[in-house]
């Protein structure tokens, strides 16, 4: 009885040893398999961020930056997300939009903050975008729509500026697959609940904007690119229904109002300029 057991174990070990021995060879290099490395993503993040940095104005006022930062810090802490990976930028643009770029760049337009009725709405959208980053949706989308070869050629400087610009625009103005959006929504609700933030305003935000969908929606980018806002609002409500918690506000009310006030001034100033 002992003999077959020993032989069986030896056979399994033999297989594992063969596998292990073979892994010592860098096959990816030998077969020249194209793959996205951290470096590729880092470089792409820089390239795309440059596009937005050069075309819009970044708001760097201490109060604005700190307020958004404390909101993101609270969300990250409650969900054990490494905040140092995220690079938050607030840009002065009246579009209601926020989006994620490769390598953890998260861009929020001032229009989104100014059009959020309360801080929970903004927190919801931020959580949704952080979910896209955490679930690695950005690189997935790029790989699918642009292709690995084009992405890699961008990072090696073999691609024209126009291509980079177009790709960056695509990231800011088109949604992910329906299933990825849903994943991000559900994850966002989890993030909100973990941070003790009421997810209902996030759903209301979608409802509210979906009602405006038939009007001229040139400013409602975030909603017009994310289809079926009503349906999304419904499943967010459905998902968070049984999960009531002791909800708290991340920012003091005064800080939130100050943020909007300050942004309003900044955007007015810039627009007058």
């Amino acid at each position: 009885m002992k003999k077959p057991i020993i032989q069986g174990v030896v056979t399994i070990l033999l297989f594992l040893a063969t596998w292990f021995a073979l892994t010592q060879i860098d096959w990816v290099k030998i077969f020249k398999v194209e793959q996205i490395t951290d470096k590729t993503e880092q470089k792409l993040g820089e390239l795309f961020w440059d596009v937005f940095k050069n075309s819009e104005k970044e708001i760097k006022t201490t109060h604005v930056v700190n307020t958004i930062d404390s909101m993101v810090t609270k969300i990250c802490k409650a969900n054990k997300i490494d905040k140092s990976k995220l690079k938050i930028h607030v840009l002065n643009k009246d579009e209601i939009n926020a989006f994620a770029l490769p390598n953890g760049h998260l861009i929020i337009y001032s229009g989104l903050i100014l059009n959020s009725d309360n801080q929970e709405e903004l927190a919801g959208v931020i959580c949704h975008e952080i979910a896209h980053i955490e679930l690695k949706h950005v690189m997935k989308k790029l790989g699918k729509e642009i292709g690995l070869s084009v992405l890699i050629s961008m990072t090696t400087g073999n691609s024209g500026a126009e291509v980079i610009k177009e790709t960056a625009r695509m990231l800011s103005s088109t949604a992910f697959d329906r299933s990825l959006e849903k994943d991000a929504d559900i994850k966002a609700v989890d993030y909100l609940l973990n941070a003790n933030v009421n997810p209902e305003p996030f759903a209301n935000f979608l409802y509210k904007l979906s009602e405006n969908e038939n009007e001229v929606t040139q400013y409602l980018t975030w909603v017009s690119t994310h289809p079926d806002s009503k349906e999304r609002a419904e499943y967010i409500i459905e998902y968070s229904k049984d999960k009531t918690a002791d909800y708290q506000q991340i920012l003091a009310n005064k800080t939130w109002l100050n943020l909007k006030e300050e942004l309003k001034e900044i955007t007015n100033d810039i627009n007058v300029d």
């Binding site: 077959p4 032989q7 063969t18 073979l22 892994t23 096959w27 996205i36 690189m139």
Partner: protein
């Protein structure tokens, strides 16, 4: 040289408890051929090999000891290949359909799997030929396992 050594240690010619008749040798050899025939279908879908040998095994359940013994050995060897190949198969599927990337670890696994498959393939051909001649062949591990499972009397 290697193969010779292999033959001696991993695959052993042994004296069976009795001299198998002509039709027994043919049926026993058939059980190995069964797994070879199914290999074309079995490469993308590893379960096919197993099903083919299983059908043959079930068909010969009430046959003579020599036939049953070899059907069992063929079945057992397919069973272990099923584990190796299924793992590789689903790994490949996840690379094609999900964001899983091709890594050196994956390529190494596939090469290891190919080596084991080829070894098994050669052993199967060799055994099919030998059993056809009525020579009893016991494989490393599978042979001793078969000796436990397969009893002379039904």
């Amino acid at each position: 040289m290697d193969l010779e050594h292999n033959k001696r240690s991993m695959i052993q010619e042994k004296q069976f408890s009795y001299e198998p008749g002509e039709h027994e040798a043919e049926a026993a050899s058939g059980s190995y051929l069964m797994s070879l025939i199914a290999i074309v279908a079995g490469i993308p879908l590893p379960i096919v090999n197993l099903i083919a040998t299983l059908i043959f095994y079930l068909g010969n359940r009430k046959s003579t000891y020599f036939v049953r013994w070899h059907c069992t050995q063929a079945l057992l060897s397919q069973l272990s290949m099923l584990f190796i190949n299924s793992f590789g198969f689903w790994w490949t599927v996840s690379i094609i359909f999900t964001e899983e990337a091709v890594t050196s670890k994956y390529i190494a696994y596939i090469i290891a799997a190919i080596i084991f498959n080829v070894t098994e393939f050669i052993a199967t051909i060799y055994t099919a030929i030998q059993t056809r001649k009525g020579i009893h062949i016991e494989w490393w591990f599978y042979g001793s396992l078969t000796n436990i499972i397969c009893r002379p009397n039904l």
